[in-house]
Amino acid sequence: MDETIRIAENVTLVGTLTIRRGPEWLAANGYPPDAEVIETRETILGVVELPVVPGGPHYSEGD
């Protein structure tokens, strides 16, 4: 029996930053106070390999 069990082969970290401007920023930049100014920034945070942990839960493609 194979006792070596993979937790995961790798993981990808993805992030999205959604910036909403408040009243002070709106006033300083000439927007009406009820304006909604939203900026979105995205990032790939990285792809990493997780360690193989004997005895851990098993995951494989398609799980």
Partner: protein, 135 residues
């Protein structure tokens, strides 16, 4: 430019899968630097006033979502609203809500963000949606 799962983060990932400490607390920093796996702290972590080096991180809402295969992605969503002025240059996930405590799971510096660092004034907010996807 770098964004990494830290060395400590590998252990936290396994713990989270097993129902242990969950890295759902979001902190931000204002310092400069390139994220590295050996890092254990943010670059100049600060509270929501963007000045004070103590305080509380934001507790995110975690969920299991689907990217490719059912439930293959761990997601944390958290909104931080600035009460002062400053520039956010890096963000991280921790397993503890108190600044200066706990282990850092993943970290990203602003060089890897589209548009770079984020300058905020009081009342501005950032909603962070961070996903850890298998495969």
């Amino acid at each position: 430019m770098a964004s990494v799962v830290t060395n400590l983060g590998h252990g936290l990932a396994v713990a989270a899968m097993r129902g242990g400490a969950e890295p759902k607390y979001v902190g931000w920093g204002t310092g400069a630097g390139t994220a590295a796996a050996a890092d254990t702290t943010l670059f100049s972590e600060v509270d929501v006033d963007l000045v004070t080096g103590t305080g509380t991180r934001t507790t995110g809402t975690s969920s299991q979502v689907t990217t490719t295969y059912t439930g293959d992605t761990y997601q944390v969503v958290a909104t931080r609203t600035a009460t002062g002025n400053g520039t956010v240059t890096n963000v991280a996930l921790f397993d503890n809500p108190t600044i200066g405590s706990g282990s850092m799971y993943a970290k990203s510096d602003s060089a890897s963000w589209s548009g770079g660092s984020v300058t905020l004034v009081a009342g501005d907010s950032i909603t962070f949606t961070l996903q850890v996807k298998k495969g």
